[in-house]
């Protein structure tokens, strides 16, 4: 009976993990466009090995995450918000999810497709406005019984103006106002000459523990 109960508890925990991590991701989609970034940062694990990879560079550790969202993006509680955020509009919805909790119940890997639109703040050197599609790869980790974001990578698809086909969009370098960082992922943009990279992002498959994933990564590294 106790083994059956344990099995039941594990199944239950897996469903709960999927629900809670999806909830965190939906909150991100609402917090970030409305500049509630302090609340978004609070959804991250407070760890030195946090990893946030954006199209303009990578941020490392919880300090890096804070730098990305509170300095480079900003929060609506900050002085001057009403001025510097004027004319900014960002909408991000998520769907097409694949979420896989580890067998040990301590981590969860997921990918999402995001669709939306973006109009950058006027201070951006190459202010963009357009429909945007992208993909997210996320790892979540359980800390003191609560799920937190551990790794996040945003793989850009397209940002195309309402009047311009995404196939005709010129290369965009509008991220210059962001902090200069080491690139965590290749900054891909569409060109008729390119082949879309394989595994951007890699779709998670069932796994036992996160260390198993790390070992596979090391073996695959050139």
């Amino acid at each position: 009976m106790s083994m059956e109960l344990e099995w039941l508890e594990n199944r239950n925990e897996r469903l709960l993990a999927i629900h809670e991590c999806r909830d965190i991701m939906s909150r991100y989609m609402l917090f970030q466009p409305s500049y509630r970034n302090a609340e978004y940062v609070a959804l991250w694990a407070e760890r030195d090995d946090d990893r946030l990879d954006m199209p303009w560079g990578g941020y490392r550790g919880i300090d890096g995450v804070r730098r990305c969202y509170l300095d480079d993006h900003g929060d609506r509680s900050q002085e001057g918000f009403e001025q510097w955020s004027q004319g900014d509009l960002c909408v991000r919805d998520i769907g097409s999810e694949v979420m896989i909790p580890a067998d040990d119940g301590q981590t969860l890997r997921a990918v999402w497709l995001t669709t939306g639109l973006e109009t950058g703040r006027p201070a951006m050197p190459d202010r963009h406005t357009g429909y945007c599609w992208a993909r997210y790869a996320m790892d979540f980790i359980r800390e003191n019984g609560a799920w937190r974001i551990w790794h996040q990578a945003l793989y850009p698809g397209t940002i195309n103006h309402a009047h311009i086909s995404w196939a005709d969009m010129p290369r965009w370098n509008g991220y210059e106002y962001m902090t200069e960082m080491d690139f965590g992922i290749e900054h891909w943009q569409y060109s008729r000459e390119d082949v879309y990279p394989v595994d951007r992002p890699a779709v998670p498959t069932p796994y036992a523990t996160f260390s198993e994933i790390e070992s596979e990564r090391k073996e695959a590294a050139p």
Binding site: L15, H19, S26, P33, S34, Q86, G87, L89, T119, T129
Partner: protein, 235 residues
């Protein structure tokens, strides 16, 4: 062991509730976008403190909801409504869901994002919109209430992000939301706050919607939510 089983049961019931509420809201969206307004109305609570807020105003109580669904829109099965719907198509995805049932399991709060397009025919009320198509982006904040064991929609607020003619970028279209496109409206009062629409000097609101947090019972989070409306007598 009994405690462990009871914990599992509690979690499963909560997850089942969340799935049920997602289905309920999405069902509402499918009915709405196919203009099956009688079916939409059937998913709402008949309470006098039910409330629906859309960009052109608020509809209070079940009477207000009947006006919204059956008069200002109108069910597609009624002959007199069919001409209004000729040439009209609404497609609205709903996703990015956050659903939080109360600990007392009597209410739940939720929000969704929606992107889609709308096309309007030649019979619609607003002349500028006749035969036009739009890109529409909204957010929804929804409260649910359990009545006789069944979940019903109780309050819904629709927040505008952009509603822009198809060939126009939203940064080139600084027109406010012009109201209900289809017919004259019969709402009870204006929107409870200014309706956001894109302008070069507009600041994105921080609470449209405000993602719900875990809560014990509805009285703790929003006594009288949605309103200015004070129902008379018992609800």
């Amino acid at each position: 062991m009994q405690t462990r089983l009871s914990e599992i049961d509690k979690t499963l019931r909560r997850l089942e509730t969340i799935e049920e509420l997602k289905k309920l809201f999405k069902r509402h969206e499918y009915y709405f976008t196919s203009f099956q307004m009688n079916k939409c109305l059937s998913l709402w609570s008949k309470r006098r403190d039910s409330m629906l807020e859309v960009p052109w105003g608020c509809y209070d109580g079940y009477d207000g909801l009947r006006r919204y669904f059956l008069v200002d829109w109108g069910d597609i099965s009624e002959k007199e409504n069919r001409e209004y719907y000729r040439g009209c198509v609404l497609f609205r995805s709903v996703d990015t869901d956050i659903v939080v049932p109360a600990e007392d399991e009597m209410t739940a709060r939720a929000c969704w994002s929606s992107q889609g397009f709308e096309v309007y025919g030649n019979k619609v009320e607003l002349a500028a919109y006749r035969g036009e198509s739009f890109v529409s982006v909204f957010n929804y904040a929804v409260d649910f209430i359990r009545e006789d064991g069944a979940w019903r929609i109780w309050h819904m607020r629709q927040f505008n992000k952009t509603h822009t003619p198809h060939h126009t970028g939203w940064t080139e279209y600084d027109q406010p939301f012009q109201g209900h496109i289809l017919k004259p409206t019969h709402c009870d009062r204006p929107p409870s706050r200014p309706v956001y629409y894109y302008r070069g000097d507009a600041v994105i609101p921080g609470d449209e919607p405000d993602p719900p947090k875990p809560y014990a019972c509805f009285a703790d989070v929003a006594p009288g939510y949605g309103a200015v409306y004070e129902p008379e007598g018992e609800v």
